[in-house]
Protein backbone atom coordinates (compact mmCIF):
# COMPACT_ATOMS: atom_id res chain seq x y z
CA UNK A 1 0.00 0.00 0.00
CA UNK A 2 1.43 3.36 -0.91
CA UNK A 3 2.09 6.41 1.24
CA UNK A 4 -0.87 8.51 0.12
CA UNK A 5 -3.32 5.62 0.46
CA UNK A 6 -2.21 5.01 4.07
CA UNK A 7 -2.49 8.70 4.78
CA UNK A 8 -6.02 8.92 3.39
CA UNK A 9 -7.14 5.97 5.50
CA UNK A 10 -5.52 7.14 8.76
CA UNK A 11 -8.70 8.35 10.41
CA UNK A 12 -10.65 5.15 9.79
CA UNK A 13 -7.63 2.96 10.54
CA UNK A 14 -6.56 4.71 13.76
CA UNK A 15 -9.94 5.15 15.42
CA UNK A 16 -12.67 3.48 13.39
CA UNK A 17 -14.29 6.58 11.97
CA UNK A 18 -17.09 5.53 9.61
CA UNK A 19 -20.41 7.02 8.67
CA UNK A 20 -24.05 7.00 9.71
CA UNK A 21 -26.87 7.19 7.19
CA UNK A 22 -29.04 10.26 7.94
CA UNK A 23 -31.94 8.60 6.13
CA UNK A 24 -32.21 5.09 7.62
CA UNK A 25 -29.76 5.29 10.56
CA UNK A 26 -27.51 2.43 9.42
CA UNK A 27 -23.89 2.68 10.63
CA UNK A 28 -21.39 2.27 7.81
CA UNK A 29 -17.83 0.97 7.89
CA UNK A 30 -15.66 1.50 5.96
CA UNK A 31 -17.06 4.91 4.95
CA UNK A 32 -18.36 4.91 1.38
CA UNK A 33 -20.58 8.02 1.13
CA UNK A 34 -23.64 6.08 -0.04
CA UNK A 35 -25.74 3.96 2.30
CA UNK A 36 -25.45 0.24 1.42
CA UNK A 37 -28.96 -0.26 2.84
CA UNK A 38 -31.05 2.54 1.32
CA UNK A 39 -28.66 3.85 -1.36
CA UNK A 40 -29.10 7.45 -0.15
CA UNK A 41 -26.10 9.78 0.30
CA UNK A 42 -24.48 9.21 3.69
CA UNK A 43 -21.54 11.42 4.62
CA UNK A 44 -22.14 12.08 8.33
CA UNK A 45 -19.16 10.85 10.33
CA UNK A 46 -19.61 8.29 13.07
CA UNK A 47 -16.92 6.95 15.39
CA UNK A 48 -17.46 3.30 16.32
CA UNK A 49 -17.09 2.15 19.93
CA UNK A 50 -14.54 -0.48 18.92
CA UNK A 51 -16.40 -3.24 20.74
CA UNK A 52 -17.60 -6.32 18.90
CA UNK A 53 -17.37 -10.10 18.64
CA UNK A 54 -15.50 -12.65 16.58
CA UNK A 55 -17.66 -13.91 13.70
CA UNK A 56 -14.95 -16.16 12.31
CA UNK A 57 -11.16 -16.39 12.27
CA UNK A 58 -8.16 -18.19 10.83
CA UNK A 59 -4.50 -18.67 11.70
CA UNK A 60 -1.99 -17.27 9.21
CA UNK A 61 1.26 -19.23 8.92
CA UNK A 62 2.22 -18.26 5.37
CA UNK A 63 2.10 -14.49 5.51
CA UNK A 64 2.01 -12.02 2.62
CA UNK A 65 4.97 -9.71 2.06
CA UNK A 66 5.49 -7.28 4.93
CA UNK A 67 3.83 -9.46 7.56
CA UNK A 68 6.34 -12.34 7.71
CA UNK A 69 7.82 -11.27 11.03
CA UNK A 70 4.49 -11.64 12.82
CA UNK A 71 3.67 -15.29 11.98
CA UNK A 72 1.81 -17.10 13.34
CA UNK A 73 -0.98 -14.54 13.67
CA UNK A 74 -4.76 -14.50 13.71
CA UNK A 75 -7.07 -12.82 11.20
CA UNK A 76 -10.74 -12.49 12.08
CA UNK A 77 -14.04 -11.26 10.80
CA UNK A 78 -15.19 -8.99 13.63
CA UNK A 79 -18.84 -7.99 13.89
CA UNK A 80 -18.95 -4.55 15.51
CA UNK A 81 -21.69 -3.90 18.08
CA UNK A 82 -23.09 -1.17 15.81
CA UNK A 83 -23.55 -3.64 12.94
CA UNK A 84 -20.78 -3.61 10.33
CA UNK A 85 -18.40 -6.53 9.84
CA UNK A 86 -14.72 -5.95 9.18
CA UNK A 87 -11.54 -7.96 8.70
CA UNK A 88 -8.75 -7.39 11.18
CA UNK A 89 -5.84 -9.02 12.94
CA UNK A 90 -6.39 -10.29 16.45
CA UNK A 91 -3.68 -9.51 19.00
CA UNK A 92 -2.88 -10.32 22.64
CA UNK A 93 -4.52 -13.77 22.39
CA UNK A 94 -2.71 -16.42 24.43
CA UNK A 95 -5.19 -19.09 23.43
CA UNK A 96 -7.14 -20.19 20.37
CA UNK A 97 -10.06 -17.73 20.01
CA UNK A 98 -13.65 -18.91 19.96
CA UNK A 99 -16.47 -17.77 17.70
CA UNK A 100 -18.46 -15.18 19.65
CA UNK A 101 -15.54 -14.03 21.82
CA UNK A 102 -15.96 -10.38 22.83
CA UNK A 103 -13.13 -8.18 21.52
CA UNK A 104 -12.15 -4.50 21.54
CA UNK A 105 -10.22 -2.30 19.12
CA UNK A 106 -6.64 -1.27 19.82
CA UNK A 107 -4.31 0.74 17.59
CA UNK A 108 -1.17 -1.25 16.83
CA UNK A 109 1.61 -1.55 14.28
CA UNK A 110 0.23 -3.26 11.18
CA UNK A 111 3.49 -3.47 9.28
CA UNK A 112 6.84 -1.80 8.86
CA UNK A 113 8.06 -1.09 5.37
CA UNK A 114 11.68 -2.12 5.89
CA UNK A 115 14.18 -0.29 8.10
CA UNK A 116 13.89 2.95 6.14
CA UNK A 117 10.19 2.94 5.26
CA UNK A 118 7.06 4.13 6.98
CA UNK A 119 5.53 2.38 10.00
CA UNK A 120 1.86 1.67 9.30
CA UNK A 121 -0.49 1.82 12.29
CA UNK A 122 -4.10 0.71 12.43
CA UNK A 123 -6.78 -1.25 14.24
CA UNK A 124 -6.49 -4.74 15.63
CA UNK A 125 -8.78 -6.46 18.11
CA UNK A 126 -7.90 -8.06 21.45
CA UNK A 127 -9.84 -9.81 24.22
CA UNK A 128 -11.61 -7.30 26.49
CA UNK A 129 -9.12 -5.86 28.99
CA UNK A 130 -11.91 -5.45 31.53
CA UNK A 131 -14.63 -8.04 30.72
Amino acid sequence: MNLSQNWRLAEQRYRLVGEICPHCGVKIYPPRDACPDCSQPAQERFTFSGKGEIYSYTVVLDAPEGYEEQVPYLIALVKLDEGPMLTAQLTDFDREPEIGDRVEMVTRKLRTEGNAGIIVYGYKFRPLLMP
Binding site: A10, Y14, R15, Q70, V106, T107, K109, I119
Partner: protein, 361 residues
Protein backbone atom coordinates in the same frame (compact mmCIF):
# COMPACT_ATOMS: atom_id res chain seq x y z
CA UNK B 1 20.55 19.69 56.49
CA UNK B 2 22.40 19.32 53.20
CA UNK B 3 24.08 22.11 51.27
CA UNK B 4 21.43 21.76 48.54
CA UNK B 5 18.68 22.53 50.99
CA UNK B 6 20.42 25.58 52.48
CA UNK B 7 20.81 27.52 49.25
CA UNK B 8 18.81 30.71 49.53
CA UNK B 9 17.18 31.19 46.13
CA UNK B 10 13.67 32.53 46.46
CA UNK B 11 11.40 31.78 43.54
CA UNK B 12 13.17 28.62 42.42
CA UNK B 13 9.97 26.61 42.58
CA UNK B 14 7.92 26.52 39.37
CA UNK B 15 4.38 27.65 40.17
CA UNK B 16 1.35 28.88 38.25
CA UNK B 17 -0.74 31.94 39.07
CA UNK B 18 -4.01 30.05 38.79
CA UNK B 19 -4.65 26.54 40.14
CA UNK B 20 -4.15 23.71 37.66
CA UNK B 21 -4.22 19.98 38.13
CA UNK B 22 -4.65 16.53 36.62
CA UNK B 23 -8.13 16.08 35.14
CA UNK B 24 -7.46 12.62 33.73
CA UNK B 25 -4.68 10.04 33.75
CA UNK B 26 -4.09 6.64 32.22
CA UNK B 27 -1.48 3.88 32.35
CA UNK B 28 -0.28 1.35 29.84
CA UNK B 29 1.87 -1.76 30.18
CA UNK B 30 2.32 -4.48 27.56
CA UNK B 31 1.32 -7.99 28.57
CA UNK B 32 4.60 -9.90 28.24
CA UNK B 33 6.93 -10.50 31.21
CA UNK B 34 10.56 -11.61 31.16
CA UNK B 35 11.63 -12.94 34.57
CA UNK B 36 15.07 -11.75 35.70
CA UNK B 37 15.90 -15.42 36.25
CA UNK B 38 15.81 -15.86 32.44
CA UNK B 39 18.44 -13.13 31.87
CA UNK B 40 20.50 -14.65 34.66
CA UNK B 41 20.14 -18.16 33.19
CA UNK B 42 21.55 -17.03 29.83
CA UNK B 43 24.33 -14.68 30.95
CA UNK B 44 25.49 -15.72 34.45
CA UNK B 45 24.61 -19.40 34.58
CA UNK B 46 21.83 -18.52 37.01
CA UNK B 47 24.27 -17.05 39.55
CA UNK B 48 24.38 -13.53 40.90
CA UNK B 49 21.77 -11.14 42.22
CA UNK B 50 18.67 -9.96 40.40
CA UNK B 51 17.57 -6.32 40.69
CA UNK B 52 13.87 -7.10 40.11
CA UNK B 53 11.57 -10.12 39.78
CA UNK B 54 10.48 -9.50 36.17
CA UNK B 55 10.11 -6.81 33.51
CA UNK B 56 7.52 -5.94 30.88
CA UNK B 57 8.25 -6.63 27.20
CA UNK B 58 6.32 -5.07 24.30
CA UNK B 59 4.68 -7.34 21.73
CA UNK B 60 5.71 -7.44 18.06
CA UNK B 61 3.03 -4.90 17.13
CA UNK B 62 3.73 -2.44 19.96
CA UNK B 63 5.93 0.63 20.23
CA UNK B 64 5.89 4.01 21.98
CA UNK B 65 3.20 5.25 19.55
CA UNK B 66 0.72 2.41 20.17
CA UNK B 67 1.37 2.36 23.92
CA UNK B 68 0.96 6.13 24.18
CA UNK B 69 -2.32 5.96 22.27
CA UNK B 70 -3.82 3.51 24.76
CA UNK B 71 -2.59 5.46 27.81
CA UNK B 72 -3.96 8.67 26.25
CA UNK B 73 -7.34 7.04 25.60
CA UNK B 74 -7.46 5.98 29.26
CA UNK B 75 -6.63 9.54 30.34
CA UNK B 76 -9.39 10.90 28.08
CA UNK B 77 -11.90 8.44 29.57
CA UNK B 78 -11.11 9.76 33.04
CA UNK B 79 -10.98 13.46 32.07
CA UNK B 80 -14.36 13.16 30.32
CA UNK B 81 -13.50 15.88 27.80
CA UNK B 82 -13.61 15.94 24.00
CA UNK B 83 -10.19 15.23 22.44
CA UNK B 84 -10.63 18.39 20.37
CA UNK B 85 -10.42 20.42 23.64
CA UNK B 86 -6.75 19.41 23.99
CA UNK B 87 -4.28 22.08 22.84
CA UNK B 88 -1.02 20.15 23.29
CA UNK B 89 0.06 16.53 22.86
CA UNK B 90 3.58 16.06 24.20
CA UNK B 91 5.26 12.66 24.33
CA UNK B 92 8.45 12.13 26.33
CA UNK B 93 10.50 9.03 25.49
CA UNK B 94 13.92 7.73 24.60
CA UNK B 95 12.39 5.16 22.24
CA UNK B 96 10.53 7.28 19.69
CA UNK B 97 9.95 4.92 16.73
CA UNK B 98 11.23 7.47 14.22
CA UNK B 99 14.42 9.55 14.44
CA UNK B 100 12.61 12.16 12.35
CA UNK B 101 8.79 12.17 12.41
CA UNK B 102 6.99 12.99 15.62
CA UNK B 103 5.39 10.35 17.80
CA UNK B 104 3.05 13.07 19.03
CA UNK B 105 1.34 13.73 15.70
CA UNK B 106 0.40 10.06 15.33
CA UNK B 107 -0.92 9.96 18.90
CA UNK B 108 -2.83 13.23 18.40
CA UNK B 109 -4.40 11.89 15.18
CA UNK B 110 -5.33 8.56 16.77
CA UNK B 111 -7.11 10.11 19.76
CA UNK B 112 -8.89 12.67 17.55
CA UNK B 113 -7.10 15.78 18.86
CA UNK B 114 -5.99 17.11 15.47
CA UNK B 115 -5.65 19.65 13.89
CA UNK B 116 -6.01 22.53 16.42
CA UNK B 117 -3.23 21.24 18.64
CA UNK B 118 0.42 21.78 19.52
CA UNK B 119 2.42 18.57 19.20
CA UNK B 120 6.00 17.72 20.10
CA UNK B 121 8.29 14.93 21.22
CA UNK B 122 10.36 15.47 24.36
CA UNK B 123 13.70 13.96 25.26
CA UNK B 124 15.71 13.83 28.49
CA UNK B 125 16.43 10.14 29.09
CA UNK B 126 14.13 8.90 31.86
CA UNK B 127 12.66 12.29 32.78
CA UNK B 128 11.31 13.16 29.32
CA UNK B 129 7.79 12.43 30.56
CA UNK B 130 7.90 14.47 33.76
CA UNK B 131 9.34 17.51 31.98
CA UNK B 132 6.51 17.27 29.42
CA UNK B 133 4.07 17.15 32.35
CA UNK B 134 5.73 20.21 33.91
CA UNK B 135 5.41 22.06 30.61
CA UNK B 136 1.68 21.28 30.34
CA UNK B 137 1.25 22.81 33.80
CA UNK B 138 2.78 26.02 32.45
CA UNK B 139 0.77 25.86 29.23
CA UNK B 140 -2.52 25.58 31.11
CA UNK B 141 -1.47 27.74 34.07
CA UNK B 142 -0.65 30.65 31.78
CA UNK B 143 -4.12 30.51 30.29
CA UNK B 144 -2.82 29.63 26.84
CA UNK B 145 -4.67 26.31 26.82
CA UNK B 146 -7.65 24.78 28.62
CA UNK B 147 -6.25 21.26 28.45
CA UNK B 148 -2.88 19.74 27.56
CA UNK B 149 -1.81 16.10 27.35
CA UNK B 150 1.62 14.81 28.35
CA UNK B 151 2.86 11.24 28.13
CA UNK B 152 5.95 9.45 29.45
CA UNK B 153 6.38 6.16 27.58
CA UNK B 154 9.27 3.90 26.66
CA UNK B 155 10.30 0.60 25.14
CA UNK B 156 13.76 0.66 26.69
CA UNK B 157 16.80 -0.77 24.95
CA UNK B 158 19.01 -3.21 26.85
CA UNK B 159 22.26 -4.55 25.45
CA UNK B 160 22.24 -8.38 25.65
CA UNK B 161 24.25 -9.42 28.70
CA UNK B 162 24.45 -5.91 30.15
CA UNK B 163 23.36 -5.24 33.74
CA UNK B 164 20.52 -3.08 32.41
CA UNK B 165 19.04 -5.97 30.42
CA UNK B 166 17.44 -7.26 33.62
CA UNK B 167 15.39 -4.10 34.00
CA UNK B 168 15.01 -2.23 30.65
CA UNK B 169 11.22 -2.46 30.24
CA UNK B 170 8.21 -0.99 28.44
CA UNK B 171 5.28 1.09 29.67
CA UNK B 172 4.26 4.49 30.95
CA UNK B 173 1.41 6.85 31.68
CA UNK B 174 -0.50 9.82 30.26
CA UNK B 175 -1.84 12.90 32.05
CA UNK B 176 -4.33 15.55 30.98
CA UNK B 177 -3.76 18.82 32.81
CA UNK B 178 -6.61 21.32 33.12
CA UNK B 179 -8.19 23.91 35.40
CA UNK B 180 -7.84 23.17 39.12
CA UNK B 181 -11.61 23.21 39.71
CA UNK B 182 -12.13 20.20 37.43
CA UNK B 183 -9.01 18.32 38.58
CA UNK B 184 -8.66 15.13 40.56
CA UNK B 185 -5.33 16.39 41.93
CA UNK B 186 -4.16 20.02 42.04
CA UNK B 187 -0.47 20.96 41.77
CA UNK B 188 1.11 22.95 44.60
CA UNK B 189 4.47 23.43 42.87
CA UNK B 190 7.10 21.77 40.73
CA UNK B 191 10.88 22.10 40.68
CA UNK B 192 13.74 20.97 38.44
CA UNK B 193 17.33 20.25 39.47
CA UNK B 194 19.72 19.81 36.52
CA UNK B 195 23.50 19.42 36.01
CA UNK B 196 25.75 18.09 33.24
CA UNK B 197 26.46 14.58 34.52
CA UNK B 198 27.63 11.88 32.06
CA UNK B 199 26.13 8.77 33.67
CA UNK B 200 24.21 7.22 30.75
CA UNK B 201 23.89 8.11 27.08
CA UNK B 202 23.18 6.81 23.60
CA UNK B 203 24.80 8.42 20.57
CA UNK B 204 22.90 8.88 17.31
CA UNK B 205 22.57 5.66 15.25
CA UNK B 206 23.66 3.50 18.20
CA UNK B 207 21.23 0.69 19.04
CA UNK B 208 22.14 0.31 22.72
CA UNK B 209 22.98 2.90 25.39
CA UNK B 210 26.27 3.17 27.27
CA UNK B 211 26.57 3.90 30.97
CA UNK B 212 29.10 4.77 33.64
CA UNK B 213 28.59 1.59 35.67
CA UNK B 214 28.87 2.60 39.36
CA UNK B 215 28.97 6.29 38.39
CA UNK B 216 25.18 6.03 37.90
CA UNK B 217 24.52 5.87 41.66
CA UNK B 218 25.79 8.56 44.03
CA UNK B 219 26.74 11.45 41.68
CA UNK B 220 23.82 10.82 39.35
CA UNK B 221 20.59 9.27 40.71
CA UNK B 222 21.00 10.02 44.42
CA UNK B 223 22.40 13.53 44.09
CA UNK B 224 19.65 14.76 41.76
CA UNK B 225 16.69 12.96 43.30
CA UNK B 226 17.72 13.97 46.82
CA UNK B 227 18.28 17.62 45.87
CA UNK B 228 15.00 17.93 43.94
CA UNK B 229 13.01 16.40 46.79
CA UNK B 230 14.78 18.45 49.48
CA UNK B 231 14.35 21.77 47.69
CA UNK B 232 10.66 21.38 46.88
CA UNK B 233 9.90 20.20 50.41
CA UNK B 234 11.89 22.94 52.12
CA UNK B 235 10.53 25.72 49.91
CA UNK B 236 6.98 24.50 50.49
CA UNK B 237 7.69 24.28 54.21
CA UNK B 238 6.89 20.56 54.15
CA UNK B 239 8.45 17.52 55.78
CA UNK B 240 8.41 13.87 54.81
CA UNK B 241 5.64 13.20 57.31
CA UNK B 242 3.32 15.66 55.51
CA UNK B 243 2.93 13.35 52.50
CA UNK B 244 0.60 10.39 52.12
CA UNK B 245 2.36 9.01 49.02
CA UNK B 246 5.74 9.44 47.39
CA UNK B 247 7.16 7.92 44.22
CA UNK B 248 10.55 8.17 42.55
CA UNK B 249 12.16 7.15 39.30
CA UNK B 250 12.65 3.43 39.79
CA UNK B 251 15.47 1.84 37.77
CA UNK B 252 15.35 -1.08 40.24
CA UNK B 253 13.89 -1.65 43.70
CA UNK B 254 16.99 -0.69 45.68
CA UNK B 255 17.55 2.91 44.49
CA UNK B 256 14.03 4.31 45.14
CA UNK B 257 13.69 2.43 48.43
CA UNK B 258 17.04 3.78 49.61
CA UNK B 259 16.41 7.36 48.52
CA UNK B 260 12.99 7.26 50.20
CA UNK B 261 14.56 6.25 53.51
CA UNK B 262 17.35 8.84 53.15
CA UNK B 263 14.63 11.50 52.80
CA UNK B 264 12.76 10.22 55.83
CA UNK B 265 9.86 8.43 54.12
CA UNK B 266 8.44 5.16 55.43
CA UNK B 267 7.63 2.08 53.36
CA UNK B 268 3.95 2.85 53.93
CA UNK B 269 4.43 6.10 51.97
CA UNK B 270 6.35 4.68 49.00
CA UNK B 271 4.99 1.14 48.56
CA UNK B 272 1.90 2.03 46.44
CA UNK B 273 4.01 3.72 43.78
CA UNK B 274 6.94 1.29 43.79
CA UNK B 275 6.28 -1.04 40.85
CA UNK B 276 9.79 -1.85 39.59
CA UNK B 277 9.85 -5.38 41.01
CA UNK B 278 6.88 -6.38 38.83
CA UNK B 279 7.33 -4.18 35.74
CA UNK B 280 11.02 -3.22 35.60
CA UNK B 281 12.37 0.19 34.67
CA UNK B 282 10.00 1.79 32.17
CA UNK B 283 12.38 4.73 31.71
CA UNK B 284 10.49 7.92 30.77
CA UNK B 285 7.32 6.29 32.12
CA UNK B 286 8.82 5.15 35.42
CA UNK B 287 7.90 7.75 38.07
CA UNK B 288 4.73 8.65 36.13
CA UNK B 289 3.54 5.05 36.21
CA UNK B 290 4.17 5.18 39.96
CA UNK B 291 1.98 8.29 40.12
CA UNK B 292 -0.72 6.53 38.10
CA UNK B 293 -0.72 3.62 40.59
CA UNK B 294 -0.96 6.10 43.49
CA UNK B 295 -3.86 8.01 41.90
CA UNK B 296 -5.67 4.68 41.40
CA UNK B 297 -5.72 4.26 45.19
CA UNK B 298 -5.59 7.87 46.43
CA UNK B 299 -8.24 9.48 48.61
CA UNK B 300 -9.40 13.10 48.74
CA UNK B 301 -6.93 15.26 50.66
CA UNK B 302 -3.92 12.99 50.02
CA UNK B 303 -0.69 14.87 49.36
CA UNK B 304 1.67 13.31 46.80
CA UNK B 305 5.34 13.89 45.95
CA UNK B 306 6.75 12.65 42.63
CA UNK B 307 10.46 12.86 41.79
CA UNK B 308 11.71 11.72 38.41
CA UNK B 309 15.29 11.19 37.32
CA UNK B 310 16.77 11.46 33.85
CA UNK B 311 20.36 10.69 33.00
CA UNK B 312 22.51 13.46 31.71
CA UNK B 313 21.20 14.52 34.34
CA UNK B 314 18.28 15.97 36.23
CA UNK B 315 15.24 15.45 38.43
CA UNK B 316 11.78 17.01 38.30
CA UNK B 317 9.82 17.14 41.55
CA UNK B 318 6.05 17.66 41.64
CA UNK B 319 3.80 18.11 44.66
CA UNK B 320 0.04 17.78 44.36
CA UNK B 321 -3.06 17.48 46.55
CA UNK B 322 -5.85 15.02 45.66
CA UNK B 323 -9.39 16.47 45.44
CA UNK B 324 -12.90 15.09 46.00
CA UNK B 325 -13.21 14.47 42.24
CA UNK B 326 -10.79 11.52 42.42
CA UNK B 327 -13.40 8.95 43.50
CA UNK B 328 -15.63 9.41 40.45
CA UNK B 329 -12.71 9.21 37.99
CA UNK B 330 -10.68 6.24 39.28
CA UNK B 331 -12.92 3.56 37.76
CA UNK B 332 -13.53 5.23 34.38
CA UNK B 333 -10.54 3.42 32.81
CA UNK B 334 -8.39 0.35 33.52
CA UNK B 335 -6.21 0.80 36.59
CA UNK B 336 -2.45 0.33 36.63
CA UNK B 337 -3.03 -2.90 38.56
CA UNK B 338 -5.17 -4.27 35.67
CA UNK B 339 -2.18 -3.97 33.37
CA UNK B 340 0.20 -5.47 35.95
CA UNK B 341 -2.16 -8.42 36.47
CA UNK B 342 -2.47 -9.00 32.69
CA UNK B 343 0.65 -11.12 32.44
CA UNK B 344 2.07 -13.61 29.95
CA UNK B 345 5.47 -14.97 30.89
CA UNK B 346 8.00 -15.46 28.08
CA UNK B 347 11.46 -17.02 27.94
CA UNK B 348 14.69 -15.41 26.77
CA UNK B 349 14.35 -16.84 23.24
CA UNK B 350 10.90 -15.29 22.75
CA UNK B 351 12.23 -12.05 24.24
CA UNK B 352 15.05 -11.86 21.69
CA UNK B 353 12.51 -12.34 18.90
CA UNK B 354 10.03 -9.78 20.23
CA UNK B 355 12.78 -7.19 20.74
CA UNK B 356 14.23 -7.66 17.26
CA UNK B 357 17.56 -9.02 18.45
CA UNK B 358 17.62 -11.86 15.89
CA UNK B 359 19.27 -11.31 12.49
CA UNK B 360 16.78 -12.64 9.96
CA UNK B 361 18.08 -10.98 6.79
Amino acid sequence: MSSEEKRDKPGRLLKTDKPVGITGYGAYLPRYRLPASEVSRIWTGGMGGKPIREKTVPGLDEDVVTMSIEAARNALSRAQIAPTDIRAVWVGSESHPYAVKPTSTIVAEAIGAVPDVQAADWEFACKAGSEALQATIGFVGSGMASYALSIGMDTAQGRPGDALEYTAAAGGAAFIVGDGASSLAVFEATYSYVTDTPDFWRRAHEVYPSHGDRFTGEPAYFRHVMAAAQVIMSDLGAEAGDFDHVTFHQPNVKFPSRVAKMLGFSEEQYKTGLLADRVGNVYAGSSLLGLSAILDEARPGDRILVVSYGSGAGSDALVMRVTDIIAERQNLAPKTSHYIARRTEIDYATYTRYRGKLLTK
